[in-house]
Symmetry: D2
Amino acid sequence: MYRFSDDYSEGAHPRILAALAEHNLESNPGYGLDRHSARAADLIRKEAADPSAEIHFLAGGTQANSAVIASALRPYQAVIAASTGHINVHETGAAEASGHKVLTAESADGKLNPSMIRDILSSHTDEHMVQPKMVYISDSTETGTIYTREELAALYHFCGQNGLYLFLDGARLGAALASPENDLTIADVAALTDIFYIGGTKNGALLGEALVIINDELKPGFRFLMKQRGAMLAKGWILGIQFEELFQDGLYYRLAAQARESAETIQRALEKLGYEFAYPPQTNQLFPIVPDPLAARLEAEFGCHPDRHLADNRTSIRIVTSWASTEAGIRSLLRVMSE
Amino acid sequence: MYRFSDDYSEGAHPRILAALAEHNLESNPGYGLDRHSARAADLIRKEAADPSAEIHFLAGGTQANSAVIASALRPYQAVIAASTGHINVHETGAAEASGHKVLTAESADGKLNPSMIRDILSSHTDEHMVQPKMVYISDSTETGTIYTREELAALYHFCGQNGLYLFLDGARLGAALASPENDLTIADVAALTDIFYIGGTKNGALLGEALVIINDELKPGFRFLMKQRGAMLAKGWILGIQFEELFQDGLYYRLAAQARESAETIQRALEKLGYEFAYPPQTNQLFPIVPDPLAARLEAEFGCHPDRHLADNRTSIRIVTSWASTEAGIRSLLRVMSE
Amino acid sequence: MYRFSDDYSEGAHPRILAALAEHNLESNPGYGLDRHSARAADLIRKEAADPSAEIHFLAGGTQANSAVIASALRPYQAVIAASTGHINVHETGAAEASGHKVLTAESADGKLNPSMIRDILSSHTDEHMVQPKMVYISDSTETGTIYTREELAALYHFCGQNGLYLFLDGARLGAALASPENDLTIADVAALTDIFYIGGTKNGALLGEALVIINDELKPGFRFLMKQRGAMLAKGWILGIQFEELFQDGLYYRLAAQARESAETIQRALEKLGYEFAYPPQTNQLFPIVPDPLAARLEAEFGCHPDRHLADNRTSIRIVTSWASTEAGIRSLLRVMSE
Amino acid sequence: MYRFSDDYSEGAHPRILAALAEHNLESNPGYGLDRHSARAADLIRKEAADPSAEIHFLAGGTQANSAVIASALRPYQAVIAASTGHINVHETGAAEASGHKVLTAESADGKLNPSMIRDILSSHTDEHMVQPKMVYISDSTETGTIYTREELAALYHFCGQNGLYLFLDGARLGAALASPENDLTIADVAALTDIFYIGGTKNGALLGEALVIINDELKPGFRFLMKQRGAMLAKGWILGIQFEELFQDGLYYRLAAQARESAETIQRALEKLGYEFAYPPQTNQLFPIVPDPLAARLEAEFGCHPDRHLADNRTSIRIVTSWASTEAGIRSLLRVMSE
């Protein structure tokens, strides 16, 4: 089966497996205090152009999101997200489980803007309501869209003026950076957020997200919090080695570019075939609108998740490519979609 | 200042103060294990027509709501509420602070129905999302509306079929029962919910809510939970004495009726004056729509909270009456509103 | 039944009930924003000799303790207490329920000293262990003992040097201040702690504890936290009125003195009868050691709780007096104990 | 540097790396719903001789411990552990962070017995105290000791009679099973506990613990809880493949035996040299008592953690072997210790 359900359906890029094997019998101190993690952190600080950024490696996205929220907020503070945001929908209430309400704004494309946040602030005015303190965005978003430099700068500026932390979930940051419409670098993201992470799981790693803490207020005690939440891996170098490999010569960018190329091939073919998209097709996630029977077939044969059921017996479905997508798979998918 | 901001702006009905004074120097065991609490519980069980109902007395509504939610739900389970629900808006995230997401439905009149709940259930289908397990409603609602017997029965039936607990916040149950359009009794509420409470604070008590647990599944361990959450009063008989007084000869109903009479006087006068209401005026809470300058004046002079800002420079404001509302106060309010 | 089980077995001092009745029909804003609460806070700030102290009124001790802990600590931080401390034993895990470990030191008399705390600090050295951040003491303690000025100063100094907050649970502060061996004032307590509270429930109030926040770091957001935890009373003036009455002319001190006088009568009689005490008898709590059968009888007839079972079929029991203890009760108790 | 600080200082056994590489480009469904996880679960069910056991794979021990505790207990319930227990000391308060108190018994060898638990039960009698509901043990323990079949049976029997769940932390279960004094099998452990896990991280895996739920009461909703706590790996098959490899032909046992052989070599040599041990040397963890200067040297040169400082300027230190310990390393360690 060729699977287009996700960008984490295969293992790691072969170079990463090779690096893990190469260092396998080294004796390393545990819990991320090893030289690989240290070097990977250095590489990422360079990428972020912030020598004082604090870097932590965590196993997965839900873990990273809920650890950041739990660390940054006081008990009565809340995080603002798009209603489609991963923390609002797909983390089984992890934010709430650490005590914090997620305040949501409806958004057509999965993105937030200052005006949406202003509305929420203006209705949260006293101690009978939670106090908004953090804004959560994802880039690329859950609907495959991306933020421009200008949009991110506007958000960051607004957050700063209103005493809000801006947190960017970069589980699919690679995909965002590889978008033809992207004008951000990791250094830009570092300059325009308080805290963000760079996803490895969805871009070539076996597992791992690299958290980058920019704002000094968010740095104290994070290792305590990771340990408490089961987010500090005993063999921490497993994560360090992978991010070393991803960032020492640009592999991270190349893998993301490859995923986008596959998506672009599919996107152009679908456009030619006359398909419309539920959200602007900008990254490795595409949401074409198809007749219900085709949606069912694509789910059965390629694992494509239905997104939303629409009028006239149509459904938007999600097609996701990765560095591991094959030409044969793409041909097979397009064959079915052009029948 | 005549205050129409709330139904808890005065102390207790004089009979309740007298009862507290009468028993003041009795020596009673603490923590609700006294004879007054026992007798009050018996009176309430009779009212509920359920001899096996478990009764607990708590100090306030937020305490009652969050204790019930924390007790009933497993860590990954969620509670469904109207977006205007008290637990969603005005408890500073108490539900989330005990770990549970509040899933909300938009509702024009503050009430839920099975179809709204069905929509939420149908989008919460696997372990990546919270599991809805409880439905929270309030009667009367935060917008002053009430449930009919038929509506409550439909909700209870739907919840039973879908493995959901139905929890009724009765902080203003007195007001609901006193509505001219009400066809429910406390026994009906007991028969058509899994758990509910009878508010004292907003109907003549100094403080106190009487929680009534009907469903056996929700009974174990509740006293442990109360104690842990600081919701078990050392001098528990203070609550017991008040509910004894409220329910031994119908005082509870008479006080609520008196509050509604005052509201009815105001409502009729406002209708005559041509005011429209943002929500159906059914209880002791009225939401007339007034020009902005009048809204500001009513807030300044009578403490009336603005509800929502509407088109054409109008605002819906909240007028609340209680057993302690005075004729002079009502005249004074109406004078201003008829200028 | 004459009850010596507790100092909260009766209602309020008659003057307090009278004050509640006097202001009963006043219209007051809710949630502690009324003039009585403001005046009571002023009186307490004067008592504490700290014009910038922040004062909050809460309903009970468990509520106060867990709100303070939840507010002061980050998720991975812990509070240090004597193993007999109320938060460790008798709050159904309220501290842990808000996420925080209680680290305990064994203590013969229920008191902590710097050396005990130093031992705990020295074994909590990295992020695999919780981080101690607050020291919790009670004065008078759960075993009826008190801190001297010198002892409290030593603790406060040590805490300051080690980045720890010192929190004093004053549920029975009145009893401590009324001890013949006491050399502290409320102003001393304010000068030698970061946060403390003055208990009303156990010294003449119907209910209520007055929290005094001295350290500026602990002030932000406390009202949010109170509301979230169900610790913000709708009719907040009920608490304000009581503390006004207790502190406007020294009633608080007189009631505590009266409780101690009763205890002193009993203590001297027991000493004459040759009883030994499990802990130094300093306040309104006495722990004489009695033969097991007498322990059982005292529990049955006077509600005295057994403390610990000792060798030779003896038990230490707890005798507690209050402002409401009667001469007849004391005579009756002593008659049984001298048989 | 030869490191004897831990049994997780190297990567995975080469066969495990090879298996990961072999299946690397397979397309698998995420979140543990793949065929490798299914087969590994089958192998473990066979090992446990319980066809209805529910198996989940988690990344690490702290994650497993706190997820089990959070899932099994109601908010006011507590877990009993030896004071040396991992959950009490080395998880940064993870149990408390999920709301649950850890009640501890002092234990000379890191093990619990029914009498210790009975003492705790007898002092937790009403709703003012937490309710003990689970007993946590580890095998092998944090001090390198093991449970016999008889001891485990006695605990399980006692727990059953007292309504307690018995939870066995098997992060080092391999080491326990490989002890010359062990008389348990995994099937015995399954028959004599309610829930336990089989540690991979400390016995040859890159990462991973296999949780085995025996008691039906503990099964519902565990996948929701894993997801919420960030303990559900996106590429779940990474864990499945490793446990497949460990259990398809006994590799798990052989790796543990190899670790014990290395420990035995060291143990015998140390005994000959006249060293005493702080705890009975039964597994791959040895705690010889050495003069302070030697302790410092062993920490510097071999990473050996000091355990406790003892009288006469002596310290017990921890030596841990693993499947990856080398003869050269052992010789080097013994050379230093025989100087």
